[in-house]
Subunit: 212 residues, 2 copies
DNA sequence: CCCATAAGTCAACATATGTTTACTTGCGGG
DNA sequence: CCCGCAAGTAAACATATGTTGACTTATGGG
């Protein structure tokens, strides 16, 4: 029924390869990962069905079990990928550019951006393994942020900074969810320009730059 | 099996009535509401089963359908209750006491506190009706907070304040979830004392008091 | 050119879950 | 005291969902 033939899409618009090789395990895996992250981030773990994900990715449901063992395994893979992505994007940000970086990535209209990675981090599957992974990602991220603002693991008054970094992280995650999942207006349609000012105030108030 | 007889609990410890009348529709309804709010806030809508809720409340599953029509209806009732509770607790807070109030209620060890009401507000059932209710609660709350800091509906530069109030709300919600659902340490075991300082910094930076 | 094998599909199954229907129980007014 | 009716219970049902195993098809080395 309306067989949708292979239709080589005559790549004219897309800058990316776009031409999907017809059978490519690695690419299929990645398609599933991307579709899953979006769904999990937006709707949560339990509300997302494996059939939804497979349909979004344009592949068969059974491949989820094949490539990721289970829905749970796919979720864990998404968390790990979010951890990598987070480390990559915020990794070499100069300490004083943190608010701009967060603002730019959170306001990113492309749904593939950091926004969905952040949202993903507060979704839980109830599974202990996944919870452990997420906790690790969050701890590492907050430590990274705290370190950029003067936190040193052992130092006495230093744990205050870590706590404040986690609060900043919480603010970023809450912001991402209220914007992209809940779609609260006017927050949801605020631009990067609108967000960067308040975000700078927020981060600087929570985490004053090391010396001034 | 192990019939758990009516066991009149010889009210010695509890300050509240505690002595449950054996058949009381209003009380049963409230028990269901409380149990549902806790579950929905902690685990999300889809991950919560009506049997979980009924068991927590100590009543039969069928009563959910009877009193709230459906799981969806119960969820909406929880959202409405959260809206009322939020208006009540933050309603008559003097504008300059906002951070303390938030800190006190978020740090509240009693799980019945504002913390779970806030967490509830980012859980979604996917139903349009529930989404509308939640959006209303969030909008009213942010407007209330914004008004305490100088926002006036029509005024030109005033929408900046509303945006910032929504960011503060997002921060509070993210904080509540990371603390109570995700249990991120050290954030999770931070006391009210630990939180009030950073929270004051956060709110004051985002929403400077009207005139200074 | 062929076919072994990896990549992908299909259909069935077991189970968990929201909801309903018929039944039982205890409370309170007459 | 007693019975009608509200409050509560138990079991069954339909469906949605994660997973599996047998089957089909394209691909690329020999």
């Amino acid at each position: 029924m309306t067989a949708e033939p292979p239709v080589p899409p005559s790549s004219d618009t897309a800058g990316e390869p776009a031409q999907r090789r017809r059978r490519d395990a690695a690419e299929t895996r990645q398609l599933l990962l991307d579709a899953a992250r979006q769904r999990f981030a937006r709707d949560g773990y339990a509300a997302t069905t494996v059939r939804d994900i497979a349909d979004d990715a344009g592949v068969n449901v059974a491949l989820i079990s094949r490539y990721f063992t289970s829905k749970e395994g796919l979720f864990e893979a998404c968390l790990r990928a979010a951890g990598d992505e987070l480390r990559r994007t915020t990794g070499q940000t100069p300490a004083d550019r943190v608010p701009e970086t967060i603002a730019r990535h959170i306001a990113d209209p492309a749904a593939a951006g950091l926004s969905s990675q952040l949202s993903l981090l507060l979704r839980s599957s109830g599974d202990a393994g996944a919870d452990e992974i997420r906790r690790g990602v969050l701890v590492r991220s907050s430590e990274q942020l705290a370190a950029a603002r003067g936190w040193r693991p052992g130092e006495p008054g230093s744990d205050q900074i870590l706590l404040r970094a986690q609060m900043a992280l919480a603010a970023g995650i809450g912001l991402a969810v209220l914007r992209s999942s809940i779609r609260l207006e006017p927050l949801s349609s605020a631009t990067e320009q609108d967000l960067v000012g308040p975000l700078r105030d927020l981060v600087d108030a929570l985490l004053p730059p090391p010396e001034s």
